[in-house]
Symmetry: C2
Amino acid sequence: MKKGYRFERELIHMFWRRGFAAVRVPASGSISYPVPDIIAGNGNRYLAIEVKMRSKLPVYIPREDVENLIKFSETFGAEPFIAVRIPNMGWRFLSLNNLKRTKNGYKVDDEVFHSGLEFDELVSNVRQKRLFE
Amino acid sequence: MKKGYRFERELIHMFWRRGFAAVRVPASGSISYPVPDIIAGNGNRYLAIEVKMRSKLPVYIPREDVENLIKFSETFGAEPFIAVRIPNMGWRFLSLNNLKRTKNGYKVDDEVFHSGLEFDELVSNVRQKRLFE
């Protein structure tokens, strides 16, 4: 958990450096609302991000995590992303329709990981477009 | 602090019941970004809220709190509000230009408090308009 927290902070710094205000959202404790790990906005775009730090691929993601991310993003008004960080491979940002289904949820394998956006692409409106075209 | 936390949670519940996704933002610890206490959004409006619970009026607000709220709101893309809660008087939501200046910041006195929006007005787009007209 400590380690995860460190990488969430790294990501928050990255967002502020690129003109986004970003906050870490605490695990909700007794409040049982579907909240993401990080929310970021720049007055134009709003991002809801679930962070997954793992030592290697594939990364398995419980269906509930994805459902909660969708629920939050639709209510708040944000683009949902899964942020995956693997040592020596850095960050990739996956939109939900890039994930592969499994019996109990979703996974990010090597192919999915490399189809994801790099941070520069995520925060750049221009290259970002290709996700939605 | 415990008590403040309880009222922040109350406010978060109120937002979710009215169709806003709302999150509590933790005091930033070692990350020194200007973050509000609560962020809420409903796909149409985004609110950044600094919460002040006090036993009575007037409530004094350090200049830095207001400056941080402005900084965050402009970067993130949110309407800034100061939420004041006084026992037996409930919540009022103040836009920053409603605050009275003091030597070291701002204050919410009886007049300012009653000029604030009630929660129903805050979350209703229709009556909200009068703030900006």
